[in-house]
Structure formats: C-alpha cells, structure tokens
Symmetry: C2
Subunit: 567 residues, 2 copies
C-alpha cells in the first residue's frame, strides 16, 4: 500500500501519523509545497505580536522528526502539479531544483487547505501589503515589523485572522485601523453579540470602521495611502489583507474531481472525493453542517485533524463516517473571549428553520469571589422540541467552557431541558451553583413552558407610545445612569405595591439589567392580572452595546439592520 | 396553599423563590434556625482566608430582601422542633424570645442541611477547636484569626472544607498541619490522582500527614497539644475539625419520616419523603447515584439548588423528577484545580461494575502559547459499550472545563466514541486542535478497539525480571532525570532500528512521559512481531506522584494500597 498525501499541515500531518500507527508497512509519502510541515498556523498572529517569543515553537514537526518517529517520507518545497487518475500517478515539481517527476499512489489524500483571498484592486500587490497563511507570510510580516517599526497598520477584514492580527499589532505597538465590509466582525456571531466585540476593540484604541471596504492602495513615500469606501483615505505603513480564505481546489479541479460550494472539493461522508481512491480533508472540502445538514465550508483546525485521522482509518479498511461540523469556534480579542457553536440566527433564518432564543448575562463565577466577570450568552433552540441549535458567548472569563459544554450537549442531540439538569463543576472560583449554562437552560425552558414571554431588542423600535408602555424595573441608580428610550421607572421590589400604574389596555414591556429581574417582574404582573406583558430578553446588557449612547457608530449607525422578530 | 420551608440556605431558598414565581398567591413561610438565610456557605473559607474581603458579600439574601422581592416571610433564629403530620402543623421555637408556637402547613419542605461531625474525643469542645458550617462558625474563626493571630493550626480532615481551609489558613499566614485518617485527601478522587494533590499541598508548605487520626486535644497554656495516631503530638494554636458532615435528620426522625443510608432522609424521585405532603432537599437527603443507581449522600450545592427548584414545580402540580446526582465537583487547592464527575474506581469496584480506564496528561492549551500547563485526566468507561462512567482531573488550568464537558456527555449517556468526535473550542490560548477530552476519547477508543494494550502503575510491582522487560522509551535526558525501577532505555525514535533488543519470550512493558509516545511505540512493536507488549497508561506522569523518589511519604508509604488490576 502506497499512500501519497498532498499538504503537510493539520489534516495531512494527522493522516500521515495515524496511517503509520495503523500500518507499519505502508509506504507513506507526503508532499508539501511550502518549506514547513505541521507548523502552528493558529499561532502565527501571536508570534507576530510577540506573545509567542520563539519562532521554533511554531514548528511542531519537521520532515526529519516525521521520518524518525513515523517513518513518513516528507518532501517539502515539492508541489504536486497534476494527478493522473487513470494511471494513479501524481506529477511533482521540485521547487528547489525545478525538476519534475512522477510518483505512483494506491490511495491519495488531498489536504491543500485554503488560501487568503487577495482581490485584484489597485495596489493589492504593493510592498508591505501582506496576507497571512503560512510561515513565509509570517516571517515577512515579523521581519517587516522588526526592521521598519511601522507606526500605523490597516487591517482589512474582521474574521478570526483579522481580529487576532488587530490585537497582536496593537500588542506590538502599532496603531491599527480595522475595516470590515459587513456591519460586524466575526461572522459566526450575530450582530448584537458582535457589538460587544466592537465596543471592546474600540476601548483598546482600535479605529474600527464597519461597513467599510478597501478600494485602492497607493504608494506614497515610504507609506501607503488607502482609499476606503466613500473615498475616505487613511494612511498606513502596512496593510494586512485578511478578507477570508478560499478552498485551494486547483489540483482537484485539474484532476477532474467534482467541486462543491464556494469552490471547495466535494467529498462524501467518508471524505472520499468523486474518485474513490482520492480522499480530501481540511479547509478545502465542503462538509455537512451539523445543525442544518446543508453543505458548508468551515475552515477549522479541529475538524481538519479529525478528518485526517478518519481517512487513515478508512484507508486501513476501518469503518468511520464524518458526522458534520458544528463550527465550534473561539477567538481571543484583547481581554475578551468570543465563542460560538452551531448555527447563529442569521443561518437559521436563511435555512428557514424555526427557532427561539434567550440571552443571559450571569457572572462567570460566584459574584462574591474576586474576579467574576459578566458572561453574555445567547442560546438558540427549537421552539417545539427544545433541541439546541446554537450558542454564542462573549466575556472575559469562562466563555470557552460554556461553549464547550453546549457544543457537547449538541453532539448528544440534547435539549434545553437537559441544560437545566446539567450537573457542572461548582466552587466559588469556578462557577455558581447555577452555572450560566443552567441559567440559559432555565430561561429557555421558562419560555417553552409559557412561564415567560419575551421581546427582543430589535423589536423595541416598533413600540408605540399609544399602545405600549416600556418599564425599567431596575433601581433608581441604574435608571439614572442610563435607560432605554423613554422608559418609566418602577423598580421590581415595588411592583406589588404599584400594580395600578401598569395599564391593562396597553402592552407592557419590562426590562432589567440582564433579564432575571424581568422574569420575576413578569411572574408578578401576569399573576396579578396584568397579562399583556413581555420581558426584554437579556435586558439592558443586550441592548446597550447595540443602541447605547456610546455606540451610535456601531454597525455604521445601521441599527435597523436587525430584522424583526419572526412571526 | 400554605407552604412552610425549614432551612433557608441553598435548597430552601431556591424552593421559596421559585414557589413565588410560580404562584403569586401562595403563603410561603421560611424558618431558619440560624441568624442568616441564603449565605454563601461555599465562600466561607475564602472570607476567612482574606480572598473575599467584605463579609457582607457572603450574605446573598436577607429576610428583608426575600420579603421585598419574593413576598416570602422569613423567620430567622426560629427552630422548628416538631412536626405533627396528622394535624399538619409544625412547632416553632423562637430562639430569641424562647417562646414556642405552631404553624399550619399544606406542604412542608425540609432543607435542614448537614452538620459537621464532632466526635466525642477528649478536648473536642475546648476553645479554639472549631468547625465550619455557617456564618456563626465563620465569624468565630475569622474573629479568632484577627484577634489572636495564631501561628499554627491543625486541620483535621481532607475533604473539600478541610482542603480549602488549609489553603486559606496558609493564605492568612498560618502554618498548617493537616491530617487525614484515610491515605488520601478528597475522596472523590482515586488514590493516584490524589497523590498529585498531596505533592502540591506539601510544596506549599503544608505538613500533610495521611493515615493519621486525631485522638485527643489538651489545653496547654494558650495553645493546644494534639495527640495524633501513634501518640504523635503536635502543638497548634487552633484546631479545625473538618472530618465530614452528617445529614441533619433530627426533625425528620422525630416526625417519624423514613430515613435512609448514612442517617439521611429518604425521598423518592419527586423528592417526597414517606409523607407525600413533606418534601426534603439538599445535603440531608439520599439521592440515587447517576452512574450506579445506588443510594448516595452527596452534599453538593448545585443539586441542592435544583432539588429546591424542582420541589416548587411539584408543589405547583407540574411534572418533574430527579434523575440522580453525578457528584460533579471541583476544588481549588492552591494553584491546582481538582475536579471529578461520576464514579471513581473505588466506587466502581465496590459496586462490581465492569470498567476500564485511561490516563492522559496533555497541555491545557496549545503548548506553544504561553501559560500551558499539564492537565492530568483519568477517564473511566464501560469496556463493552464505551459509556462514560466517570472522570477525574488535576491541573493548573482548564480542569473545570474538561470535567464539565465530560459531565455533560455523561448526562447525555454518551460514550468514549462520542468524546473522540466532540468539536470543542480551539484557539491557542484556550485549547489544542485535539482537546484533552478528545485525547482521552482517542485513547479509550484505541483500547476498546484493541489498538493498544495497557498496564497500570499498580501492576508494576508484579513485574518479574525473569518474565518481563520494562522499557523506558523516552529520551536519554528524561531517563537520566529519573526513571521507573530498573527500566532499560530504548528511545521511541530508535525502536525500529533496535527491534532485536526486544525479547519475544518476555512480556515487554513500555512507558513514556504521558502515554502518547508509548502508544506509538506499542504500534511499532506489535506490527513488527513483538506482540506481547503493554503500554503504561499515563506513563511516568501517573507513576511519579505515587511512587517517585520525592513521594516516599505519600500515602503513608502504603504504596501497596492500590489494588491489582481487575481480571
């Protein structure tokens, strides 16, 4: 058995190592067109920013170590330029010698990854206009930062790499302007959750401009004048293009393999391409979305590794099938962590899936123990069954833990009713007796049982003073520090004494800081005959990052972007 | 509907609040014999140690706030002394006035908690011999620390409270001797995992003595001379007795309600006692163990809160049933976190359940990103189905997250095969592309599929040089720094060249640092004809805390305590 693997990072390296563990006799040959295999591509921004200090920490395996440990022959700087499927050979171009040769295969594994998009606009190829994918890119940026000590950078694109590079450039002492064509960064989040990230980036001195594209770059002296949407010009010493990646399908296409959405390589549930002797894994393939079942391209390291491992099993005649990608993600943005799993509201709407949602903002651990931070958690679920459809979280502590718990529950096809019952670690430094995930479960179950009716921040614009009364049920002090619109104040603990102030001929919309007092207030009101009541889900803490006084610029002022509540 | 609740901390307070949310009209009356309700009992050690600085942070609700917000009448310093079930009345002793009166109930909720055990040995009631359960105890210890500035303390008992108090007394500048009658602290852990905690406590200057009991305390001047097992005497200014708690069943017993194991109150799956109008919740009741289905007494805050909430649902005619307690726990011990969920090996053996186990020691996050720490994880599973039976983890970072993920998987009755597939948050500051939970899943699946045969540290004592060869497959440098017994060194990367050195007529036992290289070595050997091979699960990192040179005193030298591998 001779297995040829094309691409030596996450998926390819995982496949190679497991192939050897399963079959000591197989001939395993790995081609990598770059200079390095198995480098820590997720770590590159942190090396550039200086958090990771030693470059060699990024190099997890070398061709020598792969040979020694796994008896895998690795040929770097060797590009496979063609696949002859009939003859089962690949054509290899040795980039150092310029020579071309062929290698036979029994099974072929494609792990070509995805390449940064670099659209063809004026100036896109100027010096000091960078992209970041591999060690060569990393070295170029790091070298430039070290030698030229740039004062200003423009980062184009608010995805993972863009946002991580913004933080790391700031960490390296560079003033950063960040632009994003959409009205939010980090597409896995919904808009209102992303607004918390926008606030945080701006608080860290980032000149963040949303709904803003890059149209041209011109050399001006040693610097670059960048023309943004609306002919706004900003000056920068360097530009990082991080506007997304595109599946690297060139070789697959040349070989006549079927492609899939967004230029990805089509694979079945066994990661086999349209040629059963050729597998493909990682960022280049389309997978099925775990929630919707629809095709998706989700370039994530965890799935790439698992797919590589799985292909090794399949090549060795074992049974395995890929059950879809949830899109679980986490991203550090300065002192915030931002995580998500499953589908977001945008995706659920697009796929026509019925859903409901709750927002909670509990403490990351017991509030009386030092260091507790507000954790903002959005949970999406099926309104009939309670099956969990997705979650998003933003906060300074414990975001990864809560998203991991929910991601695990989703894999087990668990429901919000199950989240209520989860028995999670509790001691004051770590959580509360009712963990934030339990709280989200409680709230969702309250909604499902009809114990709580919710309204959402995007609905508030439709309030009509003739028909609706907006009531702030927080304290006088909280109210004085800022409320929503022209809400009247009736603190929660006075509601039972002031029932007469709630009209029975209007809809009453109440809100508190995070939603919990609102729920209590709701229960008091509906059981005292004020039945046309709605509680603002997530309260002021959900509203403020989107619409608050300090956030007028958030979303380019497009506060109407959030769609109306579903029927 | 008049509901009387006895006990105003976790379970009682949760029941009261939810009762009101579900029924605005109910009469809810809560009796608490202490001065405070709803105080942060899990926070008391941290207030004593000074981490929580303000005492009022511990008081989460007051009788006034419960009245204002939930219209619950709270009577503190009122002890219910008797229940007349026939008449449905309770007898109340007002501890301030000394007067006794009766209150009628429709439904009664018992949440009496559990009291610290204070065995009747000589000196147990001397001044400066403390227990810690409530605010009064907390104030006594804090007052004593502040006024008397003790130099030395003896902490008796290595459960949660004992271990947390050890840390907090050290934090407050006190020299601590800690004794525990068993050969390990923190009973939810198995012995070999607890040894990591013993190492850490000793590294922080604690004089930890295992297999050691307290026999007597004598006043000697201003101090206390404590006689330990074997007539060893230690001097201390104060003694904290933290030898465990016992369900407070006095009232239930007086009322003729059925009791259960360990003096707990018997309840059914609806938390109803043998009287259908009387419920009991929290630390005083026996629950069913989620894994074994056997009765268990597990005093934990999370379950207490959930039970209180559930009882409110049931009283309001809603359906609910308690599905058992997993015993998920976490404990901070200096810079370590120690967590567990489900059954440990001791419990599984005791209940005769078939199980297998794996140990892994991966990094808490990507090793190339600063701050990564070794996370030691033990996973117990059903050897036939792969159903997860329990897990334990010890480490400086990310312990709570991994135990929460596994606890969630267990609630979903998931398997180790599911752990392989979990899609968890990955970015370098948070985890690795293969999370420690995935790694444990991979390892367990390798064992289940027969891709790896394991041996455990407790089996090494049975090695016979005539029949077995112990091989250290780490590097020369690691070997030189300390190896196991008289192991020979054959580094992993040289195995293929040195196959002739592995005997075919002996059992070959290989080990590495954490088990992963051992797995790779195992695969190389068995596929090259050396088939009688076993890999030491968890490698040197599992062995060293138990048997390493620095740990001779660990377990009181009783290294033979760990039982032999099951058949």
């Amino acid at each position: 058995m001779k297995v040829v693997i094309i691409g030596g990072v996450a998926g390819g390296a995982s496949a190679a190592a497991r192939l050897r563990r399963l079959d000591e006799q197989a001939e395993i040959l790995l081609f990598e067109r770059g200079e390095y295999i198995s480098f820590a591509n997720c770590g590159l921004p942190y090396y550039i920013g200086g958090t990771i200090q030693k470059r060699n920490k990024l190099l997890l395996q070398t061709p020598e170590s792969m040979k020694e440990r796994f008896n895998v022959e690795v040929r770097v700087q060797c590009e496979v330029t063609a696949i002859d499927r009939a003859r089962k050979v690949v054509t290899v171009l040795d980039l150092t010698s310029g020579k071309t040769y062929e290698e036979r295969y029994d099974k072929l594994v494609l792990s070509p990854g995805a390449a940064p998009m670099r659209p063809d606009f004026p100036g896109s190829m100027l010096p000091n206009v960078f992209t970041l994918r591999n060690m060569a890119d990393c070295d170029a940026i790091k070298g430039y930062l070290t030698e030229s000590k740039p004062a200003r950078a423009l980062v184009v694109g608010g995805g993972f790499i863009g946002v991580e590079m913004v933080e790391n450039l700031v960490h390296a002492g560079v003033d950063v302007t960040a632009i994003e064509l959409a009205d939010q960064v980090l597409a896995p989040l919904d808009y209102e959750m992303a607004c918390m990230v926008h606030q945080n980036m701006r608080a860290h001195g980032v000149d963040l401009r949303l709904s803003t594209g890059l149209e041209a770059i011109e050399q001006e002296g040693a610097g670059l004048t960048c023309t943004l949407s609306g002919r706004v010009k900003v000056f920068a010493d360097m530009v990082l293009l991080a506007i997304g990646v595109r599946a690297d399908h060139a070789l697959a296409q040349q070989a006549g393999l079927e492609l899939d959405i967004k230029g990805s390589i089509r694979v079945d549930e066994h990661m086999a391409t349209s040629d059963p002797d050729i597998y493909a894994v990682g960022d280049a393939v389309a997978v099925s979305d775990f929630v919707s079942g629809e095709k998706a391209v989700l370039p994530l390291a965890g799935p790439a590794n698992r797919q590589g491992r799985m292909v090794a099993d399949l090549i060795n005649g074992r049974e395995a099938s890929y059950e879809g990608t949830q899109g679980t993600m986490i991203c550090k943005v300065f002192d915030l962590s931002v995580g998500a799993t499953g589908n977001n509201e945008k995706q659920l709407r697009a796929s026509g899936r019925a859903y409901d949602k709750v927002y909670v903002h509990p403490s990351s651990h017991a509030g009386y123990y030092p260091g507790a931070e507000t954790l903002s958690l959005k949970l999406l679920f099926d309104p009939a069954s309670g099956v969990i459809l997705g979650a998003q979280a933003v906060g300074k502590e414990g975001v990864d833990k809560r998203i991991d718990v929910i991601a695990t529950a989703m894999r087990g096809r668990m429901t919000v009713q199950d989240l209520e019952k989860l028995e999670l670690c509790y001691a004051p430094p770590f959580s509360s007796a009712k963990d934030p995930v339990n709280m989200a479960g409680f709230t969702a179950c309250n909604v499902m049982k009809g114990d709580l009716r919710q309204i959402f921040i995007e609905d508030l614009k439709d309030l009509d003073p003739e028909k609706d009364l907006l009531v702030d049920i927080r304290t006088q002090g909280e109210y004085d520090a800022g409320t929503i619109g022209n809400a009247v104040l009736i603190p929660l603990d006075s509601i039972r004494d002031r029932l007469a102030e709630f009209p029975k001929d209007k809809r009453v919309v109440i809100f508190c800081r995070a939603g919990l007092r609102g729920y209590i207030g709701y229960r008091i009101l509906v059981q005292n005959g004020i039945t046309n009541v709605y509680n603002l889900s997530g309260g002021y803490l959900t509203w403020e990052p989107v619409y608050g006084a300090k956030n007028k610029s958030c979303g380019g002022g497009k506060t109407t972007r959030i769609p109306k509540e579903k029927a």
